[in-house]
Each structure stands twice: as structure tokens, then as C-alpha cells.
């Protein structure tokens, strides 16, 4: 059920609602942007979603958007809409840290393609969002700049690695954000914060300007509160980019037009391997209720099997660290970023001192793991075998999608956990991504949307689709949102704005400490 009246605070509006009001001149983009900057001021001391807020630049962009709106030229559903960008996407002239000490003072000379595309659409960037260092983590606790807190319970994690992107949307600090998903880094935080998060098909969205973690798995995607808003963001970031050789020249459909509300006769698969012991009963209950709701809308459900699911997580923890160990070799203190060369005996000494100081524990752990998996004598047993398993997982999905249009599961086996609860047990943390990782290995798309709550904490429902079936997944999520109101609920935080904490780190654009 959509709310009958639009709420008074602009930060509570959806992108679609705001776009309508901007066109009707009921509000200006400057006012809308200022409302979000005020909201950030009010709550981000407690949430810590942002690493950098570019207030001045945002208001200047909003003025330009207002001029466009006044003239009614080049308008898109994103014109004048304030958004946030995960700090793993480079932004020209705005510090981009990837959550790492290594890039504390890094000011990129260009902007990522997705950032350029959003700007061209007239969207406003409010700033850069917190994340696990180099996108490695499932809780945002691995940020060198302190954790992000879940707006639904400030003592809990927002998920990760795109925790800042998720929390900003959940707390009303941005109308939509971009994140990146290598093993679940968009979908899992979306699930834990009551937002919509989409992992796009590998090749759907340009990765030019995305700081690389695991290049065969990384994909950029949106966070929003509604499936409709997700469609708007996806519309503008999707498409071939000559600057990314792995982006595919596949036509971008009109996603909004695919949100018909009609899922009559659609077939959705329930994979038995995703409904296993270890998943919290409260999570399973919500997903089962969502299945009933979708049945009521005319979807058919069939039981399917993805027999190699149990190999997904271990294969991922070979492949992703192996690729990371190669990608992160570029942090050598020579071209940019941290460089501790004074007093070093030679180049190698400087390199090792720099890498020791620049990388956090999880990043070092993964580089070590990846280096081991690729090292002489272990390559066949680990890396090659993991890539063979990857083939098996792809075949599982191919067989499943021969029988169904989408696959449904919990997004995360648990609701948001307490900050600190899993930091000492790396593998327990890795288990957060049990249900999201296979999609990255197979390159398919997936979305997490608001399924309901378990003991007051959000539960996400995951839908997986064939390559380039983003529109199908959004149609299902949108149909669900038409008959439910979970996506319209706000955390308590929204009602009472806590005072900013004194422990704020960096807030200004373009300069480090």
C-alpha cells in the first residue's frame, strides 16, 4: 500500500515523488538538496554513512538542475535528485579513499563512468559513502575511518561492504546511492537496512573508475527505497562503455515500463539449498510469507535445486582473494597513495613499509590468501579447482533458469548482527554472503528487497535472474511493494535526530587530515 499522502519532510520522499514535485515546482532542487544536507547534519554523527560530504558542490549542482527544470530541458527522472556515491568510485576533485588509509589523500583526476552518467542525467552528488576497506567485508567494520551504524539499531552493523550506501538511504540521508557488489556487497547491506539493492549482470554497467577488488566479480549497482527508484537509477548507469572492455553492448530496456505490477503466470524457483539449517527462523519466516504474497499476485512457485551451492563460498574465497592479490599489487607507494620511503633501505623496503602501514587486517589477510592460492604448487589444488567449481555453479543456474524466470531466497542468513560480533572470526563473517556469492560467480543479476521484519530488524528477500533480466526482477519487487508497506517504514532514528558525536573524522571534500 502506498502512503495516501506524501510526508512533509522531503527526505522521506521517494525519487519518483521528488521528481514529480520538482517538475510541479513545489520544491526546488536546491531546497531538496539542502533538506538532505540538513538530514545528514542531524543523523550522520550517529550513523556515519558519509566519509565526505560535498555540500557546496552539491548546492551548486542543484542550482544547475533548477535551471534545467525551469527551462524544462534535458529532464530525466533523476534531474535535481540528491544521491550518494560509494567511496570506491573515483570522483574527479573529490577525495576517494575506498575506505583505506592507503588512499586517505587521494584526489582522482577523473570520474567513474557511472558518476559521469548520473551527473549528465542532472543528479546531485551529496558526497562519498563509507565502506569496508577496498570493499572487503560484510559489515563496514573494516573501514579505516570507523564503522557505519545500522539506522535500525545503532549497535548493529549495516552489512557491507557498501554499508554507507545502504545506511544513507535507510536513514533518509540520500534518495539513492551507488554501491558495488563482488560477493553480496550491495544485496546483503540492502537486506540489513530495509532498502532495495541490486547487483547487476556482469557487463551491464561500466566499471570504469571503480577501484578494483576482484575484477571478474565486481559490479556496480543502485540502492533505493523502492523498486521503481532502482529502475530509474539503473536506467542511467546501464549500458556499454568503450572505456570498460568487460561492459557489454546489449540494449538497455525501458526498466520503468517493465514495472507493470503484473506477475501473473511468472514462475519462481525455490532452491532447497538456500533454505537450510543455520538460517535464522525469523528470516525464513519472512521469506515464506513473501512467497505467499507473490503467490497471491499470481506467481507460480516450483522447487528447484542448485546442487553445487555449498561450493560457492569456498570457491569465492579462493577466486576473490586471488584477483585481489593481483589488483592490490598496484598499491606500491610509487604512483599515488601512501608512500613511506623516508629512511627505507631500498625500493623493496619502502614498498613493504608502505603496504604494512596502508592496508588493514582483512585486506592483508585476503592478499595473503590470494597469493597462497596462486603460488607455485597450490595453483591446481585451489585456484584451478575453484574456477572449475565456478563452471559447475554457472551450469546449476543455467539448468534452473530453463525452468523458471527468477529464483527466490533469503538475502542473508541472519538479520543485522552486533558491531564487533564477528570481527575475530573471519569465516563467520564470510558466511554472511552464503546466499549472495553464487550470483557473482555466475555473473547473473540479483536484487534484495524489503520482505519484512524479524524482532524489529529488517529482512531482505533475494531474487536472482538470468543475465540481463534486471527488469524482470524489478517487476517482481515492484509488484510486491504495491501490496505491502515494509519499504515505507522508517527506523526510529528518523523520528528523533540524535546529536552528532564528537568523534567525527573527515567531513570536507578534497583534503585529508
Amino acid at each position: 500500500m502506498t502512503t495516501p499522502t506524501t510526508p512533509t519532510e522531503p527526505w522521506r520522499w521517494t525519487i519518483a515523488e521528488a521528481a514529480e514535485k520538482l517538475r510541479a515546482k513545489e520544491i526546488s532542487s536546491v531546497e531538496l538538496t539542502q533538506a538532505h544536507l540538513d538530514r545528514i547534519q542531524a543523523v550522520d554523527g550517529a550513523v556515519h554513512a558519509f566519509l565526505t560530504v560535498t555540500a557546496e558542490a552539491a548546492l551548486a549542482e542543484a542550482q544547475t538542475a533548477d535551471a534545467r527544470l525551469a527551462q524544462g530541458r534535458d529532464l530525466t527522472p533523476l534531474t535535481g535528485i540528491p544521491l550518494g556515491i560509494k567511496d570506491v568510485l573515483v570522483t574527479e576533485g573529490v577525495t576517494t579513499t575506498a575506505g583505506s588509509r592507503f588512499l586517505e589523500h587521494f584526489v582522482p583526476p577523473y570520474s567513474a563512468t557511472v558518476v559521469q552518467r548520473l551527473r549528465a542525467a542532472g543528479a546531485i552528488s551529496l558526497g562519498k559513502l563509507n565502506m569496508d576497506e577496498f570493499a572487503m567485508g560484510s559489515s563496514t567494520e573494516n573501514s579505516a575511518y570507523g564503522p557505519t551504524h545500522n539506522p535500525w539499531d545503532l549497535e548493529r552493523v549495516p552489512g557491507g561492504s557498501s554499508g554507507g550506501s545502504a545506511a544513507a538511504v535507510a536513514a533518509g540521508e540520500a534518495m539513492g546511492t551507488l554501491g558495488s557488489d563482488t560477493g553480496g556487497s550491495i544485496r546483503q547491506p540492502a537486506a540489513l537496512t530495509n532498502t532495495v539493492g541490486m547487483k547487476t549482470t556482469y557487463g551491464r554497467v561500466s566499471r570504469f573508475g571503480l577501484i578494483a577488488f576482484a575484477s571478474s566479480l565486481d559490479q556496480i549497482g543502485p540502492f533505493t527505497r523502492t523498486a521503481r527508484d532502482c529502475a530509474s537509477l539503473l536506467q542511467h548507469i546501464a549500458g556499454y562503455d568503450p572505456k570498460d572492455a568487460t561492459s557489454l553492448d546489449v540494449p538497455v530496456p525501458d526498466y520503468a515500463a517493465m514495472l507493470t505490477g503484473d506477475i501473473q503466470g511468472m514462475t519462481i524457483g525455490i532452491p532447497k539449498e538456500y533454505f537450510v539449517e543455520g538460517t535464522e527462523p525469523g528470516v525464513v519466516k519472512v521469506v515464506e510469507e513473501a512467497i505467499q504474497t507473490l503467490k497471491g499476485l499470481g506467481a507460480n512457485f516450483i522447487d528447484i535445486s542448485l546442487p553445487n551451492t555449498r561450493y560457492g563460498l569456498p570457491a569465492y574465497y579462493i577466486i576473490a582473494p586471488a584477483e585481489a592479490s593481483a589488483n592490490l599489487a598496484r598499491y606500491d607507494g610509487v604512483k599515488y597513495g601512501l608512500s613511506l620511503r623516508d629512511g627505507a633501505a631500498d625500493l623493496q623496503d619502502a614498498l613493504m613499509t608502505t603496504r604494512q602501514a596502508g592496508f588493514g587486517a582483512e585486506v592483508r589477510r585476503r592478499i595473503m590468501l590470494g597469493t597462497y592460492a596462486l603460488s607455485s604448487g597450490y595453483y591446481d589444488a585451489y585456484y584451478k579447482r575453484a574456477e572449475q567449481v565456478r563452471t559447475l555453479i554457472r551450469r546449476d543456474f543455467d539448468a534452473a533458469f530453463a525452468r523458471c524466470d527468477a529464483i527466490i531466497s533469503p538475502t542473508s542468513p541472519t538479520v543485522a548482527f552486533k558491531i564487533g560480533a564477528r570481527v575475530d572470526d573471519p569465516y563467520a563473517m564470510y558466511l554472511s554472503d552464503l546466499f549472495t556469492i553464487p550470483a557473482n560467480l555466475a555473473g547473473i543479476c540479483g536484487v534484495s528487497f524489503q520482505g519484512g521484519f524479524s524482532d524489529g530488524l529488517p529482512v531482505g528477500v533475494q531474487l536472482l535472474g538470468q543475465p540481463f533480466a534486471e527488469g524482470t526482477l524489478l517487476r517482481v519487487a515492484d509488484a510486491f511493494q504495491r501490496v505491502t508497506d515494509y519499504h515505507t517504514r522508517w527506523p526510529e532514528l528518523a523520528a528523533s535526530a540524535p546529536k552528532p558525536k564528537a568523534t567525527r573524522t573527515k567531513k570536507s571534500a578534497g583534503k585529508g587530515k
Binding site: P314, V334, A350, R355, R364, M368, L369, Y378, V389, P467
Partner: protein, 95 residues
């Protein structure tokens, strides 16, 4: 397959990581723990299964052989820790 302390020392060198004594012990423990979980991979039947390095269909992108503006050296070198004209300065590689 288990991992020893000397394995970890060797990998640390390959990865250009310097680990303190404490970190060496902790890393050995943690990697051993992770590898124990990963060992389940050995149970997968991968006979005659080709590896997938990625998920893309085979593609070749060709661009026109035309010149286009690049970022100017000053902009690219703005983040350099140490520069000398349009070069990056590093410690001597060879004495």
C-alpha cells in the same frame, strides 16, 4: 592441506607484506582456519569440467584507430608521492 609458519613467511614476501612476529602467528592460525573451510572444494567432482575465469561470452572490442585527448601529465602526477618533472621518483632499483 595445512599451512605452516614458513609458508606464511614465504607468501608474505611474495605479497610484499611485512608481518610482525605476532601477526605471523595470527595469520598462520587464521589462514589455516580458512583453508580448513575451503577444503570442501576437494569434494567437488570437477572431472572434465573446464575452468571459468569469468562469465562473459567471448568478446573482442576494437576501437577506431583515432587519436583522442588524454589526461595531461600534471593532472595525472598530482597524486605522485615524489616527482621529477614528468617522471615518478623512486628509490634506486640498482646501485
Amino acid at each position: 592441506m595445512s599451512i605452516s609458519r614458513s609458508d606464511v613467511e614465504h607468501i608474505a614476501l611474495l605479497a610484499r607484506m611485512r608481518l610482525s612476529e605476532d601477526e605471523l602467528a595470527l595469520t598462520t592460525d587464521q589462514l589455516a582456519g580458512i583453508l580448513e573451510h575451503i577444503a570442501v572444494l576437494q569434494e567437488a567432482d570437477v572431472s572434465d569440467v573446464p575452468p571459468s575465469a569469468g562469465t562473459l561470452p567471448p568478446i573482442d572490442h576494437f576501437r577506431p584507430d583515432a587519436t583522442a585527448p588524454s589526461l595531461p601529465p600534471d593532472k595525472l602526477l598530482a597524486n605522485a608521492p615524489e616527482r621529477d618533472d614528468n617522471y615518478l621518483r623512486v628509490k634506486a632499483v640498482l646501485e
